[in-house]
Amino acid sequence: MQDYELMLDAYVKAGGLPEIFRDSNIAHLVIHENKVIGKKLVKGLILEPKETVSGVDINLKIERNIKIENAVHLCFGVLPKEGVQEINIKAKIEDGVGIKLLAHCVFPNAVKVIHRMQAEIEVGDNAYYEYNEVHFHGENGGIEVIPKARIKLGRNSHLVTNFSLLKGRVGVFDLDYDTEVLDNSSLDMTAKIYGYADDKIKIREAGKLIGRASRGLIKSRIAVKDNAISEIINELTASAPEARGHVDCVEIIQGNAQAKAIPIVNATHEFAKVTHEAAIGRVDKKQVETLMSRGLEEEEAINIVISGVLK
């Protein structure tokens, strides 16, 4: 099989829909290691990938006031057991733009693979930018995923990010997102990860609510079992009048796993407010017993509770 077909195969296993690559109304970009192996554009979307020694630099631009009707599909991956992939994204989302990106990152055979992503994203005024990233890793655990993003959000805009890594071993994961939010804009960041064996999960998601009436929600849903470790740092700073933020972290542990949550909420203006909630521990006994009283075995009940939290 050619790389493209193998990538599609892994993409489907990650939950992707193969038909989108045949649809002329849906833009896509497929990158294997440092090679661009598939690309389709739609009107108003500028997507310029440039191959480098260890990955691909991507320049993403959307013309002013353009709404991209269908989600733009990205597929990044490394199929061999070993390799490095460095993706650098520069995105300029002009005023009035609406775009949704859906990235599938597939590393089904990784034994010694590093995937780094560095993103600089600038979102204009009155814009909507949504970035969803779904990972599919193999069972070897030999993968390091290091996504970093610096995002600036203009006025009256909305930013949504969803990260999920629920299939296969996490390996080593170190996410670091920083966002600045201007007047009347909102950010909504969610990360959902299931770690096991000796997986290591580290997440830092930070939002600076510097604009008047800006809004921020940072949500983490993590489950770890065996000897997996997670550390979640959710940081929200509100420094403008009427800025409001909330941090919401749930971590479920089983076996010898360890979980740490560090919510940092900081208000530096008398009319700003930031709140947080965090819950760490084993699966709630009452939830499990409730499901068992309907006839489920304990393990089935625990799986349903965890699946719900990570849904």
Binding site: K286, L291, S293, G295, E297, G308
Partner: protein, 247 residues
């Protein structure tokens, strides 16, 4: 024919006697009420019958349809046809009302799920896809709990204070729903502290200080409860007096 028999069970939790030498017999096809004031041990009795963790009695036996289930785990008892509608139902992030009701059903049956929601006055189209989480009020969550028990079609349903947190207008429907459970073949063990609710039962057992102290026709036991137990004359838990009045 008896569906549940409890022989002299005692339960101690944290050095405190919660249930003392309690015996009870529930006949198949009936609504049997356990009436008692707060802290009489009613919910503990429900957890003991259901087999909840930490509620293993130190003494006594529990028989369900003639089989000794005292040492059976919770899920095994549920598979035998025993279930519990919890007084304060748990909330589940990411689980829809449809998913939740379906958990206890032997096979998928959308019509039955909708019927169960109608029975508790909830419009299926407004609830089926909602999360059994924070967005539901306590009253809505209670009704969904009852709907889940109805759809499960158990042989014996323990309803722990199904009327608490339910507004007065909906109470009639909850009572109708309990009768519907009986009609579909489910025996109901109805736990309540309100004598007007226990009146729908075929038989009522009065519970006080961790044991059954009286049993008889619901109206008579309810009348006794209203006259003699409100306010509680002993105000002691566990009772220091011999309050056993059961014949």
């Amino acid at each position: 024919m008896e569906i549940l028999r409890i022989d002299k069970i005692s339960l101690n939790l944290g050095g405190r006697q919660i249930l003392k030498d309690l015996s009870l017999c529930v006949k198949e096809g009936t609504i049997h009420s356990i009436l008692g004031s707060n802290a009489a041990g009613k919910s503990s009795l429900a957890y003991v019958i259901m087999g909840c963790c930490d509620y293993l009695p130190q003494e006594g036996r529990i028989y369900f349809r003639g089989e000794d289930i005292t040492s059976f785990p919770l899920s095994k008892r549920a598979k035998m046809g025993l279930t519990l509608a919890w007084q304060e139902p748990a909330r589940f992030e990411g689980l829809t009302v449809r998913d939740y009701i379906e958990v206890g059903m032997k096979k998928k049956d959308d019509a039955l799920i909708k019927q169960a929601l109608h029975e508790v006055l909830l419009e299926p189209k407004d609830y089926l896809d909602r999360e059994v989480g924070k967005s539901l009020s306590g009253g809505e969550r209670k009704r969904i709990e009852l709907a889940a028990v109805f759809a499960m079609k158990p042989k014996l349903a323990i309803l722990d204070e199904p009327d608490s947190g339910i507004d007065i207008l909906a109470l009639d429907n909850i009572i109708k729903m309990i009768k519907a459970l009986k009609k579909q073949g489910t025996t109901v063990l109805l736990i309540t502290h309100r004598e007007e609710v226990s009146e729908i039962a075929d038989i009522t057992s009065l519970m006080c200080s961790g044991t059954i102290v009286n049993e008889g026709k619901s109206r008579e036991v309810g009348k006794y409860f209203k006259e003699k137990c409100i306010p509680c004359p002993t105000k002691v838990f566990p009772s220091q007096k011999d309050i056993r009045i059961k014949e």
